[in-house]
């Protein structure tokens, strides 16, 4: 079953990047436009176009693309003039770490806030959290980012307003470097995570309330189980499954990059890389970024499904049947 899943994922990815290959080349726009300006000679743009192989027929270009793809080569980026994967490897590690941290914060905070909420459903805390989660979800991230910079950077001078590190981290030891990175990531993490916390809080709170109202919980209480035991061993495992599916998709999307947060805070992430590649018509880089994003979405979904099955064996039975 897993093997079938992997094969279908590979086919989907291949179709995706092939479709993108043709779509990019048939859409208006020209990668050699960057080389036309008053300061550059007109002959340069023509030479550059030739070197990008853009003058040859589309099918020939696709053939070359497929042959290179067999060896895992996505070509040379038009902008950076180095292999596409080398460019992506300059940006992907940060995105993976940043997105993972944000994901952990979203899940953890959402989880604990929902647990606190369901302890007294309809109580003051529950109502406050529900209202706040709505505001947090509705607040645009660009607005939140700018407000955080204004308060914590500009007025209070606590956190840096952009970048991932100070200029002279080379002279820092490991702990100093860790501290420096942490300081720089506080505001971006809050900006990226707040709406996600609201989403997970809402999801889990609804599911927990649902499960708490089920007859088997009443049965467990009647049999003398403590609330702690009921919550930990029975309610949470039953309530968490739908959340894992959502989490799998959300994590995959996080890995594609968080463009707005990256722009506001000047972070070197996949979001900015992909959008800049699209705007400059850097075809090989767009295809490479899309491939990576697609692969990460597929992998995270697969992991989410495996975790769900581990938590609930009935799902595995259902799948096998």
């Amino acid at each position: 079953m897993l093997f079938k899943r992997v094969i279908s994922s590979v086919v989907v990815l291949f179709l995706l990047i092939s479709f993108l290959f043709f779509l990019l080349r048939l859409s208006p726009g020209d990668p050699s436009l960057k080389f036309i300006s008053p300061e550059l000679s007109p002959q340069l743009a023509a030479k550059v176009r030739e070197s990008f192989n853009l003058n040859s027929p589309l099918l020939n270009q696709y053939k070359t693309f497929l042959i290179n793809l067999m060896s895992g080569d996505f070509g040379i980026s038009y902008t950076y003039r180095i292999p596409v994967f080398s460019v992506i490897m300059d940006f992907l590690p940060f995105t993976l770490i940043f997105s993972t941290l944000s994901f952990i914060i979203q899940i953890t905070a959402g989880f604990f806030l929902s647990l606190i909420s369901v302890k007294k459903i309809g109580g003051k805390l529950d109502k406050s959290f529900s209202r706040l989660s709505l505001i947090a979800y509705a607040l645009p991230s660009f607005f939140l980012g700018v407000i955080l910079i204004l308060i914590f950077s500009s007025l209070l001078n606590i956190f840096p307003s952009s970048g991932i590190s100070s200029f002279d981290t080379d002279s820092y030891n490991f702990l100093q470097r860790l501290a420096d990175y942490s300081t720089h990531l506080v505001l971006p993490l809050i900006t990226l995570s707040l709406s996600g916390i609201a989403v997970y809080y809402k999801y889990l709170r609804e599911n927990l309330e649902d499960v708490y109202n089920k007859p088997f919980v009443l049965n467990l209480r009647a049999n003398g189980c403590t609330e702690k035991e009921i919550t930990r061993r029975h309610v949470i495992p039953n309530a968490i499954n739908p959340l894992i599916s959502v989490a799998g998709v959300e994590l995959g999307l996080l890995f594609s990059g968080a463009l707005i947060t990256e722009v506001i805070f000047g972070l070197p992430g996949m979001g900015r890389l992909t959008v800049n590649a699209i705007l400059t018509r850097d075809y090989p880089l767009v295809v490479g970024c899309t491939f990576i994003s697609g692969a990460l979405v597929i992998i995270t979904n697969l992991i989410a499904d495996v975790i769900k099955v581990k938590l609930d064996k009935r799902l595995l039975k259902g799948m096998l049947n």
Partner: protein, 554 residues
């Protein structure tokens, strides 16, 4: 358990908060931090295609000569750099350059004439696709624009070189200002792969700064090269280009003191900076202008079979002039740019004082005159629809603008309303910049709005010469044989005074033909920290000659 959790939270907070208490440039008291909106792709001058890339590469690599800007004449004045002296021969077909013998590359190898020859070979080699490829029109070159080294360069000794030029051409001092690269570093590299391979190499430079660190999409850190003859003992020790993509973040960091210099500040933000005691303001004017283009030829006929026939709406110069009279450019300048700029009369900015025809004034806003001119050309509201007509053709067109530029959106609305007043129907279409410029370059539009940055030295051939195949930036497809003749004469005129007059005659011709409506010259508003001393920003650029700056810390 709760105690453990509290302890973890406190420890985490300390790790996060303590290092943040010492920010800004306290760790770099003698550094200047410049905020830029995007990273560069290369610091190598061979592959520096953009302004930011040029700014960085020219601080790392030197050219034979350099320039000072003369405000009085509006011209660049050459001054020695790697060439300490030079002599032209009688007919200016050859120049002898005496090179400095005290310049060393950062790996200890001495700079010599061999680096000069090698650099020009690289720049002109089609395989390299350098930023100067195709530029050396005065040099003896083959049909692929590659310089013939044997005929061009004579190396008398390691510090004396003669350069011969093509007869009948007028060599340009700009050809000697190109940053030179070290021969011993690049000579054994396959040229087809140079652009890729050089990115993995440690830079070997000879400029007033060397590349200390390049954190991609974060910062480019240059440190002062104390061995350079340009080094000032009490000058800045570090120059940091900090990449901050968001304009608002950049402005906030400028006010905070996290960055020391920022360009392209919006007009509406200048007032808040004026009140700050730690910020000083200046501007570079006359390097950028906006225009509304009227395609002088029929784009459909040109697309179909490259036929050049006058545009049905804009082919007549009187009609184009009427459109200029009808547009209230002062309103846009005042309301959007807050008067940080000036109206444009032609393609030569007021800063080019020697070449500017001061008799030419921007046409005033005069809708009545516009109506009279159009009526004289046969455009009348025959059917009383509010839209002018001529021979069954309605005066209706689409004005194309690139998306994401609020200034152009504002200006387009003003233009639409102004032209409506005189009976012209305008639809505005906003296109993604890539799509927009592709269509502009291929002459697909009737009318559009865009802007140009102006090169130094003044170059009018690239924009106004009639040959559309070899002048790809003549977007409005301006056709005038007299203008072509004047452009050719300018290129070959050695006498400075005669050259100035030719520029003025050319401006006069363009002014009368009105191929586009020149809207306004836009100021590049620059703000910098009062820490920066000895700063002198000229038309050549904000960071030009920044090795002369120093820092005064409070």
């Amino acid at each position: 358990m709760k105690l453990k959790q509290c302890g973890l939270i406190i420890l985490f907070s300390l790790i996060v908060l303590i290092p943040s208490c010492n920010r800004k440039n306290n760790g770099h008291p003698n550094a200047i931090i410049i905020g830029i909106s995007s990273d560069i792709d290369s610091y190598n001058p061979l592959f520096s295609y953009t302004v930011d890339e040029g700014n960085v590469s020219e601080l790392l690599y030197l050219g034979l000569i350099d320039f000072n800007w003369d405000e009085n004449s509006g011209e660049e004045i050459p001054r020695p750099m790697l060439a300490k002296d030079w002599q032209w021969n009688k007919d200016s077909t050859s120049i002898t350059l005496d090179l400095r013998n005290d310049v060393y590359w950062s790996d200890g190898v001495q700079f010599t004439a061999a680096d000069v020859v090698f650099s020009y070979d690289l720049y002109s080699d089609p395989a390299i696709q350098s930023s100067r490829y195709g530029f050396f029109k005065s040099f003896i070159a083959d049909s692929a624009f590659r310089i013939d080294l044997n005929k061009t360069f004579i190396v008398e000794n390691p510090f004396k070189i003669i350069i011969n030029f093509k007869k009948g051409t007028l060599p340009n001092y700009l050809d000697f200002a190109i940053p030179l690269v070290p021969e011993h570093v690049f000579k054994n590299i396959d040229r087809k792969n140079l652009i890729t391979v050089e990115k993995q190499m440690k830079p070997v430079t000879d400029g007033p700064f060397y590349l200390s660190k390049w954190d991609k999409n974060q910062a480019i850190i240059l440190k002062a090269n104390e061995k350079s003859f340009l080094h000032k003992p009490n000058g800045i020790s570090e120059l940091i280009f900090k990449i901050v993509p968001d304009y608002t973040s950049r402005l906030t960091q400028l006010k905070n003191g996290e960055i020391d210099l920022m360009e392209d500040i919006k007009a509406e933000d200048l007032n808040q900076l004026t009140d700050l005691s730690n910020i000083k303001l200046t501007k570079i004017s006359g390097r950028e202008y906006d225009y509304t283009a009227w395609s002088n030829i029929d784009p459909d006929a040109y697309q179909k079979n490259k036929k050049i026939i006058p545009n049905k709406l804009f082919g007549d110069k009187n009609v184009r002039q009427a459109l200029t009279y009808a547009i209230n450019r002062q309103e846009i300048l005042h309301d959007f740019l807050k008067d940080h700029g000036e109206l444009a009369a032609g393609p030569v900015a007021p800063i080019f004082k020697n070449n500017l025809d001061t008799l030419l004034k921007p046409l005033p806003y005069d809708p009545d005159k516009a109506r009279k001119i159009l009526a004289g050309e046969g455009w009348k509201d025959v059917n009383h629809t509010g839209v002018l007509e001529k021979n069954g053709q309605r005066f209706s067109f689409t004005l194309e603008i690139p998306s994401g530029n609020p200034r152009r959106v504002f200006a387009a609305s003003v233009i639409k309303n102004d032209l409506k007043q005189i009976g012209i129907e305008v639809k505005i279409e906003s296109l993604e910049p890539q799509v927009f410029f592709q269509k502009v370059f291929s002459h697909q539009f009737n009318s559009w709005m865009a802007g140009w940055s102006v090169a130094i030295p003044l170059d009018l051939r690239s924009f106004w010469y009639s040959d559309l195949q070899n002048t790809p930036m003549n977007f409005s497809c301006y056709q005038n044989k007299n203008a072509d003749r004047l452009i050719n004469e300018v290129d070959h005129e050695k006498d400075k005074l005669k050259k100035h007059q030719l520029f003025k005659d050319l401006q006069d011709t363009i002014y009368n033909d009105n191929p586009v409506t020149f809207l306004y010259w836009i100021n590049n508003n620059i703000a910098y920290s009062s820490r920066i001393q000895d700063i002198n920003i000229t038309a050549l650029g904000a960071v030009y000659h920044c090795w002369n700056w120093s820092v005064k810390n409070n």
